[in-house]
């Protein structure tokens, strides 16, 4: 970067919050996706602003000199959404990490984008409140990133995703203006719903500098059970049946045999290694209603052909089951070194069909695809176990992903439930939204970001 420009960035955020050494900048060429752009994609600079004023000055400067800006939280997205490019400045918002207020009377909270999701959750839970979205990365992902990606998680089945909790935002536009969207009230229909436009926009429309979320009361208790099946198809058919019976579980996770075997191998808690599939189900609510929900779900599972039901009797037993679930990725990473977590999502009643097709696709391309889905909301995480060093296999993997996406769309589903389009899926976006839909998105992007400096190349592919 030219010395003059570098100086300007230093003046805005302070010298110690600018990284200009190559080795430091290189570490922003990747995120938690499988994309790494390496030396040729190393950003020109990394800056860490402290407040909305600095963010605004950075955007004005960037807009004047047409420098691409890549906003970044903890770099934990899995869509390539924060991967750098050579001419860009990466703007890390980790220093803006204050919880501004938790309003227990109105059940809302206001916070800065750099707050780590799990830290925020534990603060509100101390007050008996609940912020449900629980992406697997919540221990280290930031709220700003969660808003940009509209993060979900296993609890989505009952509680929805990030978008369902964001009431309003403060954002800095590409041209540097600071605007407020939405309101702190539960109802607000004043003008276009810009909040919803920005949630999930993957850093392409504005920089989020403040977030207003709604909170709900923390459920009194929860209960966990495992339903064991000798048939993956039967297990996946059960998912819709549970909801049809009027029970909405907090989470309903589907694990196939590949996962069951590897997890058991890894944590030794007595999972049924012969089972073709298990459903890991959690219900929550008032203490009095927990057993009732578990009974209902058990009954449905048995009717659908479950060979065994196992209800966790103590919190420790429940925790063991969740430890098993959380160690899923670790356990399969021993099978092959590279893990690609797919994110296509389908209506619940289409899960059995699509799971069957995924099996066929795996066979066709001779690759290993395991299934571990947030089945409760149709979010099938087909997991491809491969090796990035095997170029020939990676070609087959790419083809298989394309077929899985086509199958999901054909079933009335979506390309991505919670990971985002990013760089990973930008070439597929037109398949889902159509050419006219894509054109409209591009028009919106140009209106908000005339010089195309906000995370260019992401999502819309240009």
């Amino acid at each position: 970067m030219q010395a003059e420009l570098l100086d300007k960035f230093r003046q805005i955020v302070g010298k110690e919050y600018v990284l200009d050494q190559f080795e430091d900048r290189y570490c922003y060429t990747y995120d938690a996706s499988s994309i790494s752009v390496g030396k040729t994609g190393t950003p020109a600079l990394v800056v860490r602003p402290a407040n909305v004023g600095e963010v605004s000055l950075i955007m004005k400067l960037a807009n004047e000199f047409k420098i691409p800006i890549i906003p970044r939280g903890a770099g934990t997205n899995v869509s390539g959404g924060t991967v750098s490019r050579a001419d860009a400045v990466v703007m890390v918002l980790d220093r803006m990490n204050k919880i501004i207020l938790i309003d227990t009377k109105n059940l809302v909270a206001e916070l800065e984008p750099g707050v780590v999701t799990a830290d925020f959750q534990s603060e509100v839970e101390k007050l008996g409140l609940f912020y449900p979205p629980d992406p697997a990365s919540r221990g280290y992902s930031t709220m700003g990133g969660n808003v940009a990606e509209c993060a979900g998680g296993p609890r989505g089945a009952k509680y929805g995703v990030t978008r369902d909790y964001v009431l309003g935002l403060e954002v800095v536009l590409a041209t540097g203006e600071i605007i407020k969207t939405g309101s702190r009230t539960m109802k607000s229909v004043a003008g276009y719903d810009l909040t919803r436009l920005i949630v999930g926009s993957e850093g392409t429309l504005a920089i989020v500098t403040k977030i207003i979320v709604k909170l709900i009361p923390l459920p009194e208790g929860k209960k966990t059970m495992l339903a064991i099946f000798d048939d993956l198809y039967k297990a996946s058919e059960t998912v819709a049946q549970v909801f049809m019976a009027g029970v909405v579980p907090t989470t309903l996770e589907l694990l196939d045999n590949i996962y069951i075997r590897n997890i058991e191998d890894y944590v030794h808690i007595g999972l049924p290694v012969d089972a073709e599939a298990v459903l890991l189900i959690e219900v929550d609510g008032y203490m009095e209603c927990l057993d009732r929900q578990i009974e209902l779900v058990s009954k449905i599972c048995l009717e659908q052909g479950a060979v065994k039901i196992q209800v966790a009797k103590t919190p420790q037993e429940a925790e063991e089951l969740w430890v098993a679930r959380r160690s899923a990725f670790a356990s399969v990473s021993k099978v092959r070194p590279t893990i690609i977590g797919e994110d296509a999502t389908v209506p619940r009643d289409k899960i059995p069909d699509v799971v069957k097709q995924i099996r066929e696709i795996a066979e066709k391309y001779k690759i290993i695809i395991a299934v571990l889905g947030h089945a409760g909301d149709g979010n099938l995480h087909a997991t491809i176990l491969t090796d990035e060093r095997d170029k020939e296999e990676m070609v087959r993997v790419e083809k298989a992903i394309g077929e899985i996406l086509h199958a999901s769309l054909a079933a009335g589903g979506t390309l991505t439930g919670e990971h985002g389009i990013g760089r990973m899926k930008s070439k597929y976006l037109g398949l889902e939204v159509g050419q006219d839909g894509l054109n409209l998105m591009k028009t919106i992007k140009r209106a908000l970001d005339p010089n195309n400096i906000l995370n260019p190349g992401q999502m819309l592919g240009e």
Partner: protein, 417 residues
């Protein structure tokens, strides 16, 4: 793990970023290059020729405490600690050691007699260079000599542990016999820990062998990438201990324990003459607290009325999985009350020579530990590693706290007073 085998390990990093929650260095520096994910990807970049193994790379590889928090936390179990150590090794092989490190590691550590003389000189002359604190906690530098003026240093003992005892101490009515690996910190700086260990063992009817020619375990060389020195020291240790007719080889330092128990296997794997000896030794090597917890404290235990909090040294808790045994021992002594601190396994920032080369940073990390200790109602901090003791004492002193700092052996020995 050799440099050319590293690629297999680096590709296992799925770049999830979960190491951001546990890396003590990242919490201070906040640059992606300082977290495990960044370091692993820089190593990968060097392997692929994207980044040069130059001074900047070396500096980033020095940003690691080898505290293993990321390794335990990693969902894919990437051995980040070994990757960083291999990177340091490669840097030393390609570029050589910096002068100071070369003098200390190659000349000092490799020659036990010279090291002994150096330590003796230190004990004689330290009064000129340092002023002793009245509270008996340690010394502060008088002169500018590359050490921070605020830094609390523990004096070199004028009588190292191994000169205080014969090679064999026979306990009356002995039921077991053990060998004691003293480690440098205990032998030269803090012999009181060794004395406490011996007192406890004798009271438990256990005879002790303290091989007089034992020397450094090699960790400082290993951690700084000086593998030839580490190999030489490992061989010497194996030679002194593997063939002793004892029930166990006791260690009183987390880092020495890791070295003798597991790291020697890797270090000496190209030395076929040693493979069988290393295995034999590693089976006998055990941390002092693990050994004592297994047999249980015998004899009359006097009450020790103290409220203590226990710091888990990285190389004990994650390096060797020693967590419950120290607490079990303390609970078996009447009067001791344990007041647990938040996150007792969080690194104190010492990391051996790291606190010499990166003092400012190591003290920033240390401040979190000091805060967590102060938040308990304990008046004594207990731990199992002499290096942590020195660093935590320094932090408590600078923070204005008068918390007593003891090695767990020193605490247990009080029950036999």
């Amino acid at each position: 793990m050799e440099w050319d085998e590293l690629e297999k390990e680096v590709v296992r990093c799925i770049k999830c970023g979960s190491c951001q929650t546990v890396c003590p260095i990242f919490k201070e520096i906040r640059s992606e290059a300082s977290v495990a994910r960044g370091k692993v990807n820089l190593i990968k970049a060097v392997i692929h020729g994207d980044v040069e193994a130059n001074e900047n790379f070396a500096e980033r590889m020095s940003w690691c405490l080898n505290c293993k928090a990321c390794v335990t936390n990693c969902p894919s179990g990437v051995k980040v600690d070994q990757l960083v150590l291999q990177a340091r090794r490669k840097l030393v092989e390609d570029k050589g050691l910096p002068f100071t490190k070369k003098m200390i590691l190659r000349l000092g550590l490799r020659n036990r007699w010279l090291f002994d003389i150096g330590m003796k000189m230190g004990a004689l002359t330290q009064g000129m260079m340092f002023r002793t604190l009245e509270n008996g906690r340690g010394m502060l530098p008088r002169l500018p000599m590359g050490l921070d003026y605020r830094r609390l240093i523990m004096p070199v003992s004028d009588k190292p542990l191994r000169t205080r005892y014969p090679e064999t101490i026979v306990a009356e009515g002995a039921v077991k016999k053990v060998a004691l690996f003293t480690g440098c910190m205990v032998n030269y700086i803090n012999p009181a820990i060794g004395e406490a260990v011996i007192k406890i063992l004798v009271n438990n009817k256990i005879s002790i062998v303290i091989p007089a020619n034992q020397h450094c375990c090699g960790t400082p060389a290993f951690a700084n990438g000086d593998i030839p020195t580490a190999v030489e020291l490992a061989k010497a240790t194996v030679d002194h201990f593997a063939d002793l007719d004892v029930d166990a080889v006791l260690i009183v330092c987390g880092s020495c324990g890791c070295a003798l128990q597991s790291e020697y296997r890797d270090l000496l794997k190209d030395e076929p003459a040693y493979s069988e000896k290393v295995e034999r030794l590693s089976k006998k090597v055990v941390d002092f607290t693990v050994f004592m917890a297994e047999i249980g404290l015998k004899g009359v235990l006097h009450p020790v009325d103290k409220v203590v909090t226990y710091h888990e040294s990285c190389h004990l808790t994650r390096g060797q999985g020693v967590k419950s045994q120290p607490r079990q021992l303390m609970n078996s002594i009447p009067g001791i009350q344990i007041s647990e601190m938040k996150d007792p396994g969080r690194c104190c920032g010492a990391a051996g020579s790291f606190s010499l080369s990166h003092y400012e940073l190591s003290m920033k990390i240390n401040q979190h530990k000091v805060k967590d200790i102060a938040a308990t109602n304990a008046t004594t901090l207990v731990t199992g590693c002499p290096s942590c003791i020195m660093h935590i004492k320094d932090g408590l002193n600078q923070g204005g706290y008068d918390t007593e700092v003891l090695h767990i052996a020193e605490l247990i020995a009080k029950a036999y007073d």
